[in-house]
C-alpha cells in the first residue's frame, strides 16, 4: 500500500499569554540570532503541552516530534483529551499554518473540513453559497455544477435554495454546509468534530455518508472527534495524542482502549476547604470501563482527611452523561447517612447505584462533601464509568438511536379487541 501522508518530526511552538506585547523586541532578538547563525533563542524554553500544570515559560509546544504515516485508504481516528494537540495537527495537515519544525509530505489533493460552512455569506442565497463554499474548499465550478443536485437533495432544502441563508434556521444552514463538504472530491479528507451538528436524524445521515466515503470510495480520511462511538464505527486505525506527543498508533480498538486507560480520570477540583479533604480518585476505576446496563454500579472513592475532626459529615453525588445531563442525583441526607471524619486518615466511600439501567455511553461523577453549610470538597467531571452498548436486550444498540438517559427493559404486548 502506498503512503499518502508522511509526517516527519513535526513540532509546533505556540506563544503563551498576550501575543503582541514585546513582539518587536523578540522579533529583533530572533533576527539577530538568525544572522549570527544561531538557533531560535525562544524555541528552547518551551515546556511540553500540559495545560493543567502552570508554567512561567512564554512558549509551549503544542506538538512535539510527531512521526506517523498514513496509507492510501486508511481511515484514521485522531483521539486525545482536550488540548492534546489534535486540532493543531489537523491545522498543520490542512495547511492553515506551518509546523515550527519538521515536514509533512502529502500525495494527492487534500480537502479539510475544520468547520462547516466556512465562507458562507449571510446575504447570498443557498445556491450562491454552495458555489462559494465549494470553491473555498477547492472544487472547481464544473465539479460543483455536476454535484449541485445531489448536494441540495442531501441537505433536503430544495425549497429554500434561492433564499438568502440569513433567513435559514440554524439546522438548515448546517445541513447545507455539511452537504457541500460531503460531496468534496479529494483523495484525502480531513474532518474535525463536524458530526456534532444537526438533529439526531441528520447526524446519523452524516455518519452514514462518512462511512460511505471511507469504505466504498477508498479515500483516505483523518477524523478527529470526541465521539468515541463514531470513531470506532468509521475508523480502522487510530492515533492517540497525549500532551502533544504520539502516545500510541495502531488499530482503532487498541487506540481507544489506551485512551480510556490513560485518560485523566481524577476530575476537576472546584472547591476545597483550607483544613480540608484530599481527593485520591476512584479505586475500582479499571473495572468501570465495560459495565453491563443491568448490573449495580459501585464506585469506591478514596480520600485523605487533613486537619479535620468532624461528626455528621454528608456526601452528595451527581452522575451526568457526555451531554452534561444529570441522570442521577443522590444525597446522603435522604437516606440519613452521616459519617465522622478523623484527622489525618485515609478513608473510602462506596457509592452504589442499584441497577440504574443507564443508556450506553460515558458517565461523569460530581461529588460534594460538606458539613452543615460548609463545603469541604467539590469535585466535578470525574470520568466514572462507561456503559457498553452491547448486551441490551440481547443485541447491541447504536448510540444515536437511544434518545434517553435510561433504558429500562420493557415489553410490548398487543391484543386484538
Amino acid at each position: 500500500m502506498s503512503v499518502v501522508i508522511q509526517a516527519e518530526h513535526i513540532s509546533k511552538l505556540y506563544r503563551l499569554g498576550q501575543v503582541g506585547t514585546g513582539t518587536l523586541s523578540h522579533d529583533l532578538n530572533r533576527w539577530f540570532a538568525k544572522i549570527a547563525g544561531k538557533e531560535d533563542p525562544f524555541a528552547k524554553i518551551g515546556s511540553i503541552n500540559d495545560r493543567s500544570v502552570k508554567t512561567t515559560d512564554e512558549y509551549a509546544w503544542a506538538l512535539r516530534d510527531i512521526n506517523f504515516q498514513v496509507n492510501q485508504g486508511d481511515v484514521v481516528g485522531v483521539i486525545g483529551s482536550n488540548g492534546a494537540g489534535k486540532s493543531t495537527l489537523l491545522k498543520l495537515l490542512s495547511r492553515v499554518t506551518t509546523p515550527t519544525e519538521g515536514k509533512i509530505k502529502i500525495r494527492g489533493r487534500i480537502a479539510s473540513l475544520l468547520e462547516v460552512g466556512t465562507g458562507f455569506h449571510p446575504e447570498l442565497t443557498g445556491r450562491e453559497n454552495v458555489y462559494m463554499n465549494g470553491a473555498i474548499l477547492g472544487m472547481t465550478k464544473q465539479e460543483i455544477k455536476r454535484k449541485f443536485d445531489d448536494i441540495v437533495e442531501f441537505a433536503g432544502i430544495a425549497k429554500y435554495i434561492d433564499t438568502p441563508v440569513k433567513r435559514y434556521s440554524s439546522g438548515m444552514y448546517v445541513r447545507l454546509a455539511f452537504a457541500v463538504a460531503a460531496y468534496l472530491e479529494s483523495e484525502i479528507l480531513i474532518l474535525d468534530e463536524v458530526l456534532a451538528v444537526g438533529d439526531a436524524e441528520f447526524q446519523k445521515k452524516c455518519l452514514g455518508k462518512m462511512g460511505d466515503v471511507a469504505h466504498n470510495e477508498g479515500r483516505t480520511v483523518l477524523f478527529v472527534s470526541h465521539n468515541l462511538y463514531a470513531v470506532s464505527e468509521i475508523c480502522n486505525t487510530g492515533l492517540l495524542l497525549v500532551n502533544g506527543q504520539v502516545s500510541y498508533s495502531g488499530p482503532i480498538k487498541n487506540t481507544i482502549d489506551r485512551y480510556l486507560k490513560a485518560d485523566n480520570h481524577s476530575g476537576e477540583i472546584v472547591k476545597t476547604h483550607k483544613k480540608g479533604i484530599l481527593w485520591n480518585g476512584i479505586l475500582n476505576r479499571v473495572d468501570m470501563e465495560d459495565l453491563k446496563p443491568n448490573e449495580d454500579i459501585l464506585f469506591k472513592l478514596s480520600f485523605t482527611s487533613q486537619n479535620l475532626d468532624l461528626q455528621n459529615v454528608m456526601i452528595d453525588f451527581n452522575l451526568h452523561n457526555e451531554n452534561n445531563i444529570n441522570v442521577t442525583h443522590s444525597r446522603s441526607k435522604w437516606i440519613d447517612n452521616k459519617f465522622a471524619v478523623k484527622p489525618n486518615t485515609d478513608f473510602e466511600v462506596t457509592y452504589t447505584l442499584n441497577s440504574p439501567k443507564l443508556a450506553p455511553g460515558r458517565y461523569f461523577l460530581t461529588v460534594w462533601i460538606y458539613h452543615g453549610e460548609n463545603v469541604l470538597l467539590h469535585i466535578d467531571n470525574i470520568a466514572a464509568c462507561t456503559i457498553n452498548a452491547n448486551n441490551y436486550f440481547g443485541s447491541s444498540l447504536f448510540l444515536d438511536e437511544v434518545q434517553s438517559c435510561v433504558v429500562p427493559s420493557f415489553t410490548i404486548s398487543k391484543v386484538d379487541c
Partner: protein, 288 residues
C-alpha cells in the same frame, strides 16, 4: 500506519508542508488553479455591495457624484482652488474616479488578513487569491464609475471648448495597471504588517486621507511652487494623475522621467509586497 517514517521511500510527493520555499514563494500556477474561487469572491463583493438596497447598483455611481458635488462647493466655490480653466465638475469627477479606485483597492487589500482570519483559520487556499479578487472587484466598480465620467466628459466636450483630449489618452491602460500595482503592493505590505502590529490599521484610514492631499486630486500640480512640485512628484501617483488628466482633459503635466520613476517604484513595491506577504501567510494565523 507505522510510527517510523520509511526512509527508503524516495518517491514523489505532491506537497511538502513545512518546507522552506525560499524568499519568493509566489506560485502563479496555484493561483490560476483557484481562479473559480477568485471569480466567486468578486461576485460576492459585487452582489453583497448593494443587496437589500433600494437603488441597487446605482450606488456605484451615486457615491462619486455626491463627492464631486461636495468638492465643487467646498474646493471650487468656497476655497476657490484653480482647476486651470477646466469645468470643476469634470475636473473633480476625473480625479475622483481614479482616486476612488486607488483608495478602495488599497483600503480593502490592506485588511486581507484581519478581515478573513476566520476563513484563513479553517481552510487553505492561496492567500493571494483574496487581495487579487479585491483588485478585480475594485476594477469593475471603477469601470462603472469611469463610464459615468465618460458620459459627463462627452457632454462637456460637446458644449465647451476648454477640453482638448489628445493621443496621451492611449496611456489609459498603463495608468490603470500602475494604479492597481501601487494599491495592491501597498495593501499587501500593510496587511502583512498588521497581523502583528495592529497599530497600522488606524494609520491606513488616516493615511489615505492625507495621501489624497499629497496627490493632485483636487488641484492641478501646476499651481504648486517648483520646490513643492518636486516633493509632490516623489509621490508615485502624481505622474499617473497628471497623465490621466492631460490625456482626457488636455490639461496636466506629463514628465517621462517621473513616469519611469513611478513604474520602477511600483514594481519594487509589488515584488517586496509579494515577498513579505508570502512570508506572513504561512504563520499569521498563530499571531493574528
Amino acid at each position: 500506519m507505522d510510527l517510523k517514517p520509511n526512509d527508503a521511500s524516495v518517491e514523489k510527493w505532491d506537497n511538502v508542508i513545512g518546507e522552506d520555499a525560499g524568499v519568493f514563494s509566489f506560485n502563479i500556477k496555484e493561483i490560476w488553479r483557484y481562479r473559480d474561487l477568485m471569480g466567486m469572491f468578486v461576485k460576492k463583493d459585487i452582489i453583497t455591495y448593494y443587496k437589500q438596497t433600494i437603488l441597487g447598483p446605482i450606488w456605484f455611481v451615486l457615491q462619486p457624484v455626491l463627492t464631486t458635488l461636495m468638492f465643487v462647493v467646498v474646493f471650487g466655490n468656497i476655497a476657490k482652488i484653480s482647476t486651470n480653466g477646466i469645468p470643476p465638475v469634470l475636473f473633480y469627477l476625473s480625479s475622483l474616479t481614479l482616486w476612488n479606485y486607488f483608495a478602495d483597492t488599497f483600503n480593502l487589500t490592506s485588511k486581507t488578513f484581519i478581515d478573513n482570519a476566520p476563513i484563513f483559520g479553517k481552510v487553505y487556499f492561496p492567500r493571494m487569491v483574496l487581495p487579487i479578487s479585491k483588485l478585480i472587484s475594485g476594477l469593475i466598480k471603477f469601470l462603472v464609475q469611469f463610464a459615468l465620467f465618460l458620459i459627463v466628459w462627452v457632454y462637456f466636450i460637446a458644449t465647451r471648448d476648454s477640453i482638448h483630449p489628445n493621443m496621451y489618452i492611449l496611456y489609459f491602460p498603463l495608468i490603470i495597471i500602475m494604479v492597481a500595482a501601487i494599491s495592491l503592493g501597498m495593501g499587501i505590505i500593510v496587511t502583512s504588517l498588521t497581523t502583528k502590529y495592529r497599530d497600522l490599521t488606524f494609520l491606513v484610514t488616516f493615511g489615505i486621507q492625507l495621501l489624497m492631499y499629497a496627490t493632485p486630486v483636487i488641484y492641478p500640480i501646476s499651481i504648486a511652487s517648483p520646490r513643492k512640485q518636486f516633493w509632490l512628484w516623489l509621490n508615485p501617483l502624481t505622474s499617473l494623475f497628471e497623465l490621466f488628466k492631460y490625456g482626457f482633459l488636455g490639461n496636466g503635466v506629463v514628465s517621462y522621467g517621473w513616469l519611469l520613476y513611478t513604474v520602477v517604484f511600483s514594481l519594487v513595491l509589488l515584488v517586496f509586497g509579494f515577498i513579505i506577504f508570502g512570508k506572513v501567510e504561512k504563520k499569521f494565523i498563530d499571531t493574528v
